[in-house]
């Protein structure tokens, strides 16, 4: 059984201008979203503040909770469902409980969790239990932000070095450009779909840096093999790249596809605790596959070797 036949012969490189243009547009949109969102793009993990998850025995009307918060001086609090996507869509196991997350970003008062809890207990009719309580102070929040950026930069540099070592520098540049593309667009989509950055999202971004390089390497491997095999006449680079991408199409689609099966499963059924992690991974792997074909290889073309 095969998805693509051996004689697949799509001229991918012809599409590269269109692909690069589209990518640049989305990158611009992502960067704009990043700066436009200002501090609101940072979740509690990075900005500091409180997140409390309340468990109610039955489904709640979120507006009651909203009113109670406003009445007690917590009008800046963000109220969200704390479930995995599957529960939100109604698939998967049925759970009677209704878990709601209340986020309050950094205030000068510091840890306000207890105050919030007491206020809600007196204002709401229904009983609830606090199943999760996070507080991140300003010192730690900033630390996590800085560490995150450092880790991303380190990962890109490490991969630049490794791919240069195993292939050539221009291959490495193509790979790193594709990775940066993936991180920027994934972050953009993440923010545009209304999420706030958390440590889970950051972990996913770093994982994508490490994973997305895989299908890039599959293609590069084949390009290298095709470049140096035929002895008689040196084929044009654009043809080598096209042939390599077509030959490895099965492999690229299948490896990404199987990984997408599992990340989708995580996203649908993994619970609210890893919601950001699994969502970001799923988006990132899709973008990563696209970039291996349409971004990494064209960069090779742009970098004419004399």
């Amino acid at each position: 059984m095969k998805i693509f036949s051996e004689t697949l012969n799509i001229d991918f490189m012809k599409l590269r201008s269109a692909a690069i243009t589209m990518s640049l547009a989305i990158i611009a949109l992502s960067i704009f979203t990043w700066f436009n969102a200002g501090v609101s793009k940072y979740g509690v993990d990075f900005a500091g503040g409180n997140e409390i998850v309340l468990r109610f025995a039955a489904k709640q009307d979120m507006s009651d909770l909203r009113k109670a918060l406003d009445a007690n001086g917590f009008s800046s609090a963000v109220v969200q469902e704390f479930v995995d996507e599957g529960s939100a869509l109604g698939i998967g196991e049925e759970d009677d409980n209704h878990d709601i997350s209340v986020k309050l970003k950094a205030t000068e008062k510091g840890d306000v969790a207890k105050g919030l809890e007491t206020a809600l207990r007196s204002s709401l009719k229904e009983d609830f239990s606090v199943i999760k309580e996070d507080y991140v102070g300003p010192v730690v929040g900033e630390q996590i932000r800085n560490q995150g950026l450092t880790a991303l930069a380190c990962s890109l540099l490490v991969i630049l070095a490794y791919v240069s070592f195993r292939f050539e520098f221009r291959f490495a540049v193509g790979a790193v450009v594709a990775l940066a593309h993936d991180v920027i667009i994934t972050t953009g989509i993440f923010l545009l779909s209304g999420h706030e950055l958390s440590t889970g999202a950051l972990a996913a971004l770093l994982t994508i840096v490490g994973y997305s390089i895989n299908d890039t390497i599959i293609v590069y491997d084949r390009i290298r093999e095709n470049m140096f095999s035929k002895g008689k006449k040196k084929p044009a680079l654009v043809d080598v790249i096209n042939r390599s991408v077509n030959q490895t199409m099965n492999r690229t689609v299948l490896t990404s596809g199987t990984t997408l099966f599992v990340t989708t499963s995580l996203w649908l059924f993994g619970g609210g605790g890893i919601a950001d992690l699994s969502y970001t991974l799923t988006i990132g792997i899709m973008i990563g596959t696209y970039s291996s074909i349409f971004i990494a290889s064209p960069v090779l073309l742009l970098w004419k070797k004399d």
Binding site: R55, G148, G210, Y211, L254, F261, L266, G270
Partner: protein, 512 residues
């Protein structure tokens, strides 16, 4: 089967056996004999419930506090030498000042301090006519020393206090220059534990000021809201306490905290009470007076009582903190993550369910797409998971919810290696070579592709492990371990599988 194949098969068999031994404690907890090696896989706080606290030590306060004590000692020493010292005080962040009545003994005082207190660096002298003020600053490396000691001492004190709560397997560790990470599994009442841990608990015994002491007295607040003038130096501190207990006065039913003093403290208390019968002795906790009873008699038994309108919970907390000693500096909570046990249980359930669904889809796909070779991939994958869990258990690594996500991700990534090999073999079949040759060529040519892609993911996993804390570290750990086992399973086990079993379909071709 060749000799080499047999040897490798035995090797694999041994590894599988070891895995079962290591994993048995996790899955068959109750029914194993005592001598069984290995232990259950450790669950992170987000899976079993508990609290994770990062506390910052306000080291600046420790320096100030040390200087205050130095100021007090210096004053009594200088007065014993008959120098005209009006007072000494700690000011600013790291300054100590000596106020003299006049400049009569200025040089002698300076040389006394220089000789006895080398950690103080002379800064300036201010001669205002009426008084002469000498300013000293503490040496920078001495201050650093105090700060470092403060953090170490805070860790010990926290450990003592946590021990008294009977928390199972708490972890208390230094993190960076002045942060302490405290992990408390299965804590139900985190609020009171936090309060106990964070309470400075500086206990002092000071005489209430009368007569001429009023000049040097300080005003301290009392529990009930009033203020009382007390002498500005403590006669005895919390160091003198051996142990503290809650007791109830049989006559008044009042809840009190009884103190048992150590031998040095008992002698000191004996002398204090003997010298000051009739005067009031204030018991000060963290700058607030709890009570100031009159000393009726000399007390030589080494026992004292603090009574002051306590509620039971308050008294218990007080007893705990007094037993464990004072914190050298106040603590601030920099980060706190608390997960209730019910959410933890749900998280495990969700994690396992998403794993089963994800793995099932992938495995069914592999069998449909690659026929018999697909079955080999299924076996390889299951073995992969077993080996991953074995490594987790063997290394004593902690499994967190993101860690389970890492395992699920490994399922997806492990299959990639198989796909790369199988696709390569399929290509080789197209060239018409013998089945065995195709298999060998497939494995050989795919080898470096697999290594390259996994090494890069591994490197980013290592960086993520270095950066992350708690749950994210768990994710990075399972990711990295998963890569190691995946490469082993795809290359070693996969290869062995092809050599050991006839993977042919009905037509005699490779079933792939």
């Amino acid at each position: 089967m060749t000799e080499s194949t047999k040897k490798r098969a035995w090797f694999l068999g041994a590894i599988i056996a070891i895995s079962f031994v290591c994993l048995a404690p996790t899955f068959f907890a109750g029914s194993l004999p005592e001598w069984w090696p290995g232990r259950k896989i450790k669950l992170g706080l987000d899976l079993k419930g508990g609290s994770y606290l990062v506390m910052g030590v306000e080291v600046g306060e420790a320096v100030k506090s040390t200087l205050s004590n130095t100021a007090l000692s210096l004053r009594s020493e200088l007065r014993k030498e008959d120098y005209p010292v009006v007072k000494t005080r700690q000011t600013g962040d790291d300054l100590l000042q000596i106020v003299l009545l006049n400049n009569r003994a200025l040089e002698e005082v300076k040389s006394y301090v220089a000789k006895q207190y080398p950690e103080l660096v002379f800064r300036e002298v201010e001669d205002a006519g009426v008084r002469v003020t000498l300013s000293y600053q503490i040496k920078a490396d001495e201050a650093l020393n105090i700060e470092k000691l403060a953090v170490d001492q805070a860790i010990e004190t926290i450990r003592n206090r946590v021990d008294q709560y009977g928390v199972a397997e708490p972890t208390i560790q230094k993190s960076g220059a002045n942060l302490i990470v405290v992990q408390l599994p299965d804590v139900t009442d985190i609020a009171s534990v936090k309060k106990t841990i964070g309470s400075v608990a500086k206990l002092e015994f000071r005489l209430v000021a009368t007569g001429k002491e009023i000049e040097e007295a300080v005003s301290l607040p009392h529990r009930d809201g009033s203020t009382v003038q007390v002498e500005d130096h403590p006669l005895m501190t919390g160091d003198a306490i051996k142990t503290a207990n809650v007791d109830i006065d049989p006559q008044t039913n009042e809840i009190r905290v009884g103190l048992s003093l150590n031998s040095v403290g008992a002698k000191l208390f004996d002398r204090i009470t003997a010298d000051n019968v009739g005067r009031q002795l204030a018991i000060v906790l963290d700058g607030v007076i709890q009570s100031y009873p009159v000393i009726r008699d000399r007390i030589s038994g080494g026992n004292a009582t603090i009574s002051g309108d306590f509620m039971m919970e308050e008294a218990r907390t007080l007893a705990i903190v007094l037993r464990s000693g004072a914190l050298p500096a106040p603590l601030t909570v920099e980060e706190e993550r608390t997960v209730g046990a019910s959410l933890g249980a749900d998280a495990i359930q969700d994690g396992v369910f998403s794993f089963v669904v994800g793995a099932a889809v992938v495995l069914i796909f592999m069998v449909i797409y690659y026929s018999k070779a697909g079955f080999l991939a299924v076996f390889s994958l299951l073995l992969n998971i077993v080996l991953m869990l074995t490594l987790l258990s063997f290394l004593g690594a902690t499994l967190t919810l993101p860690g389970i996500a890492g395992i699920v991700l490994t399922v997806g990534m492990a299959v990639d290696a198989n796909i790369i090999i199988f696709e390569r073999i399929r290509e080789e079949i197209g060239t018409g070579a013998s089945a065995a040759a195709c298999v060998e060529a497939g494995f050989a040519k795919a080898h470096w592709t697999i290594m390259d892609s996994n090494i890069t993911t591994f490197l980013t996993g290592v960086i993520l492990y270095g950066l992350g804390t708690g749950p994210i570290k768990g994710f990075a750990a399972t990711l990295c371990l998963g890569i190691l086992t995946s490469v082993f399973c795809a290359l070693f086990v996969g290869h062995l599988g092809f050599q050991m079993f006839r993977m042919r379909n009905a037509k005699g071709e490779l079933s792939i």
